[in-house]
Amino acid sequence: MKHIKVINLGELNKVEGKGCGECQTSCQSACKTSCTVGNQKCENTEQ
């Protein structure tokens, strides 16, 4: 495409098989007062 460059093709709304709960949690990170979810990790290595 000439006018639009794809940086990331997201699949956030494809949720089948998701929701296992093996996510990183805030207390593992360096964040104690302004916790962000989007910069944490999915830790399910089987997906």
């Binding site: 990331n8 997201g10 207390c27 593992q28 302004s34 990790k41």
Partner: protein, 446 residues
């Protein structure tokens, strides 16, 4: 839903429901103001852009929409996966006492409005047992040794790590430990122990000496910088590439906090997190609405400098600019938020259970205790229910799936309601996300 913005010369378009990210040209950026009214768009933009170009850009927008990656459909989650979460993580308050007197401390010199007390080994073991018992099928369990200053109770920390390792064998759980410390008690033995046994080490210092010493004091009201900087450097050197963060707080006294971040980077610290203070406006160091524009600009300046440092090979990692566009947490996690009160709890030295460390000391938020378990199921349900779909302010917010709905404690502290997000926090969060995504776009252009 889409969001578009211009930052550091890049025009960026986000499709919120899919998480797709696009870099667009200025014509497309302006066309989107009129979408889906093409006639009106061309009428208003024909003097500024070639009509053929506008037509091409319009077709590209339509194609992406038809592929379902622009203006994509909202996320449909299964209700039962949003309920009855098992506990995964615990903030273990091994010390409600502190050897510093920081001006902005939300923990009242470590005591959280209560008595200065250290956790005993038996209570700590009960906390670990509680976590295992309430973790269901979750394999990876997290414990953050927290305070007050947790190294004031170092022998108990060691005993609890040993106990958890024993219980791993019989339960097939895997524990990961984090230590959050002010660094004052670090010595070679402790540094070696933490390096060997902690998955992450979080070291508190605010940045430049004058910034740090303005808020982080000894019990004799001296600045702490000279006592901690070498110890924190030694811990960081020992840690090498293993997870550790230098963590600071900025206040109204250092709205130019990017200088503090860069000062830490210049000293060679590889991973840095500097966060806004959480304080009500009656404190002279509190951030207020009039600071927002300056702070947003400061994040933008930091993002540009961050890219410059990376370009020159002086790489460092700023926690709040981390974003994994290709992976990251799934929609369930993003909708349920930080997990306080559901996936995550805090346990005090005397065994009370709270939704998270920020609520400790607020008696209305006691979920239960280690002896009797979770007693206040209604409170737990409140935390479970208040997710993105329940927060009015979040429903139409473009940042919702990046942010997760913000901090419950901030919402309560400022609005007396865990479902009403803290407005200043929202504005700063949005700017951090815009900066983080711009950095990813810029990196792909190199």
């Amino acid at each position: 839903m889409i969001h578009k913005y211009e930052l550091n010369g890049y025009y960026i378009l986000l499709d919120i429901n899919s998480g797709s990210v696009f870099e667009i040209d200025k014509a497309t950026y302006e066309l989107l103001d009129y979408y889906p009214d093409k006639t009106k768009a061309c009428e208003n933009l024909k003097g500024k852009y070639d009509l053929a170009d506008l037509d091409e850009a319009w077709i590209e927008i339509e194609n992406l929409k038809n592929q379902g990656i622009l203006f994509s459909e909202d996320i449909a989650l299964e209700e039962d996966l949003m309920r009855d979460h098992d506990i995964k993580a615990m903030c273990l308050h091994v010390s409600h006492d502190c050897n510093m007197r920081c001006g902005y401390c939300f923990a009242s010199e470590g005591s959280f409005e209560g008595e200065k007390v250290l956790m005993d080994i038996e209570t700590g073991k009960e906390a670990i047992d509680f976590l295992i018992k309430n973790s269901g099928k979750r394999k990876h369990l997290e414990i953050d040794f927290f305070g007050g200053e947790p190294l004031m109770n170092f022998e108990v920390v060691k005993s609890l790590v040993e106990y958890a390792r024993e219980r791993e064998l019989e339960t097939e759980k895997v524990f990961r430990f984090t230590m959050t410390t002010n660094g004052l008690l670090l010595n070679e033995d402790i540094i070696e122990y933490l390096d060997e046994n902690m998955a992450n080490v979080v070291l508190s210092i605010d940045g430049r000496k004058e910034t740090n010493d303005n808020m982080r004091k000894t019990i004799n009201n001296e600045g702490t910088y000279k006592y901690i900087i070498d110890k924190i450097k030694r811990m960081s050197e020992k840690r090498g590439s293993k997870d550790h963060y230098i963590r600071g707080t900025f206040t109204k006294n250092n709205l130019d906090f990017s200088k503090d971040v860069l000062d830490l980077a210049n000293q060679g610290f590889p991973s840095i997190s500097v966060e806004p203070v959480v304080a009500t406006p009656d404190n002279d160091y509190a951030l207020t609405g009039e600071d927002i524009l300056d702070l947003e600009k400061e994040y933008e300046n930091l993002a540009v400098e961050y890219l410059n440092y990376n370009k020159q090979g002086d790489k460092f990692n700023f926690f709040h600019f981390n974003i994994d566009l290709h992976g990251g947490p799934c929609a369930y996690k993003r909708v349920s938020g930080c997990g306080a009160g559901t996936d995550y709890v805090a346990v005090t030295p005397t065994g009370e259970i709270y939704p998270c460390h920020q609520f400790v000391g607020k008696e209305d938020f006691i979920l239960g205790d280690l002896e009797k378990g979770i007693l206040n199921q209604n409170l737990r349900k409140d935390f479970e229910k208040v997710n993105l779909t329940d927060k009015k302010a979040c429903r139409d917010c473009w940042a919702k799936y990046y942010c997760g709905g913000g901090c419950f404690a901030n919402a309560y502290n400022f609005n007396n309601d865990i479902s009403v997000p803290y407005d200043i926090g929202c504005k700063l969060e949005k700017k951090r996300i815009e900066c983080a995504i711009m950095i990813q776009v810029a990196k792909q252009n190199r």
